[in-house]
């Protein structure tokens, strides 16, 4: 059996743990740059805030219901996620963290346990230890666990926990799940299935293998088999290394000058370089993209440029140099840029690099320099020491006007109690 545990309105719940005054008020969290709604407490859903609603369109609603608004504080959410996952890890020999707020637990070895009681124990422990409420779905396969989890959160009777063991319960659950809500069925496939008169997960599970394979490919077939209770998706205990890394952000206010774009690009290139070193890879391809604001009534421009470098690199200085070469080749004056980003790809393990015959870059020196840089920055905080190309006073950084303190990771930000 497999359990899917996911946190209810995770980001909003994190904010409430350290701020009990808002625990039963409508709370929303905004995306990077205080743009759109990315998390809503139940109360915020109840007063009609939708996922993705831009903040500026919510002004009246925020006033009317005194909604509490937060900028996204990923430092806090990341640390709270660690706590939830650490707690869950104590309940299973195999834990697969699937995203910042959900993970699969392999419960296969617990034959003699009452799974319903065990799931409640998991839910209560996470709530007690971290303050975060979770929903739990337990079933024979990942795809069924997803369905169980969805119903657990929707049905008032389940109160957030649902175990699907008996055939008639599984059937009932499949019948009340729309086909578009099945894990891995996208909007396109959903439309196609509707056209063929398949509207529920139950009807989809009844289809012949050949038909499913033809219309939904092999991945779809495996998922349909999972609906029938045949596990096809293993718990990935060891995830493969990433094959490309992207770092990109929107700017707080429109950027027009090349120098500001260069600083932003250098900053993202440096972040990519750091992630590369962390996983022990070097990259041979560096892509830079720039874009204007699609929603603004100004001239539009999107462009990107990929440079293939003579030998794979993972040093900040190399990547910044290449990224800015790429940027300068696509920069056009006269546009207001909203976003730029750096993607590195075409990886090689750093310990078996082929050195070019005409390689003049002093790889060894760079390696030592980067090691020193990483040590300094891990001790004194991100970007304490950085390349001058990244700039000092970054005017292009994010708007984060409603950021909560980093209660759990910064000593100066911990809660204060009055004695």
């Amino acid at each position: 059996m497999i359990a899917l545990v996911d946190c209810n309105s995770f980001y909003a719940s994190c904010e409430c743990v350290f701020n009990p005054a808002i625990r039963d008020k409508p709370v929303i969290v905004l995306s990077n740059n205080d743009g759109c709604t990315i998390a809503r407490s139940q109360q915020a859903k109840d007063v009609g805030v939708k996922m993705g609603d831009p903040a500026f369109m919510l002004k009246d609603l925020i006033k009317k219901h005194s909604i509490k608004v937060f900028s996204s504080n990923y430092t806090l959410y990341g640390d709270m996620s660690r706590r939830v996952m650490q707690t869950l890890a104590g309940f299973t020999p195999n834990l697969e963290v699937y995203s910042i707020d959900e993970s699969f637990l392999d419960l296969g070895h617990f034959y003699k346990k009452d799974l319903h009681q065990y799931a409640w124990q998991i839910k209560n422990t996470v709530q007690e230890w971290t303050g975060i409420p979770v929903g739990i779905g337990v079933a024979k396969t990942k795809t069924l666990a997803k369905i169980a989890n969805r119903i657990a959160k929707k049905s008032p009777k389940a109160k957030g926990v649902l175990v699907l063991q008996e055939q008639r319960h599984i059937e009932a659950a499949l019948k009340r799940t729309e086909v578009g809500d099945v894990w891995g069925i996208g909007r396109q496939h959903s439309k196609l299935l509707q056209k063929h008169g398949i509207t529920t997960a139950y009807e989809l599970a009844q289809q012949h293998d050949a038909w499913v394979k033809k219309h939904l490919t092999i991945v779809g077939l495996r998922m349909v088999k999972e609906l029938r209770g045949e596990p096809c998706l293993e718990l990935e205990e060891v995830a493969p290394k990433k094959q490309n890394i992207c770092t990109s952000r929107s700017f707080g206010s429109p950027v027009t000058k090349l120098q500001e774009l260069e600083e932003a690009t250098a900053t993202y290139a440096s972040k990519c370089a750091y992630k590369l070193r962390k996983q022990g890879s070097c990259a041979s391809a560096v892509t830079v993209f720039v874009m204007t604001n699609r929603f603004a009534n100004t001239p539009q421009y999107y462009n990107s440029k990929t440079i293939h470098v003579p030998n794979p690199v993972n040093s900040d200085l190399h990547l910044i140099q290449y990224a800015n070469m790429a940027l300068r080749s696509i920069y056009e004056e006269g546009y207001s840029y909203k976003k730029c980003g750096v993607i590195v790809s075409d990886f090689m393990p750093e310990d078996n690099l082929q050195l070019g015959l005409f390689d003049v870059a002093d790889t060894g020196k760079h390696k030592d320099l980067m090691k020193a840089l990483d040590n300094l920055n891990s001790r004194y905080g991100m970007a304490t020491v950085k390349a001058a190309a990244q700039g000092i006073k970054n005017n292009w950084t994010l708007k984060r006007e409603r950021l909560s303190p980093c209660y759990t990771t910064r000593l100066s930000d911990v809660l204060v109690a009055r004695l």
Binding site: A21, S81, Y98, V219, E236, L415, A417, L419
Partner: protein, 158 residues
């Protein structure tokens, strides 16, 4: 810190992202040994024998442990004094006599947990302050049991 990776099925198709948790930062202090040896001085005293990791000693359950700073005098007889940094564990149950952090009527506070008969009290540790009886309908949230109080002796010299 969360590390992010892309998850792939055996046929290389991607089915999601995974985030892996890195361990929490270690704070290590060197512990020097010095044995008084008769005869030759031991060269070993110049070396660090092991390190003390305060996290390991002060944090039993990293998932449920938080820090909180306190202001005020109401707990001074329990050795919880103005500006101290408290280590609190949410996973522990409050017992008779535990110092607890809670949210009470609109602010965080620290008091001694005291069940008496069928009543519950939050007691100060300073004769100048009054006991508080916990009753139905109060704005109350239990935040954790205080496990350690870290007192800055340099800043608070008498």
């Amino acid at each position: 810190m969360l590390k992010e990776t892309v998850l792939q099925n055996r046929d290389r198709s991607v089915f999601g992202k995974a985030f892996f948790v890195d361990g929490h930062e270690d704070l290590e202090l060197p512990l020097f040994g010095s044995k008084i040896a008769a005869g030759f001085p031991s060269p070993a005293t110049d070396y660090i024998e092991e390190t003390i990791n305060l996290n390991r000693h002060l944090i039993k359950n990293p998932a449920s442990t938080f820090f909180i700073r306190v202001m005020g005098e109401s707990m001074q007889d329990a050795y919880i004094r103005n500006t101290d940094l408290l280590v609190i564990d949410k996973s522990l149950k409050a017992r008779d006599g535990s110092a607890v952090v809670c949210w009470l009527e609109g602010e965080f506070t620290v008091k001694t947990y005291k069940p008496a008969g069928n009543k519950l009290y939050l007691l100060p540790a300073n004769p100048k302050y009054k006991a508080i009886e916990l009753t139905e309908g109060m704005d109350f949230v239990f935040m954790g049991v205080v496990t350690y109080s870290i007192h800055d002796c340099l800043k608070n010299q008498l």
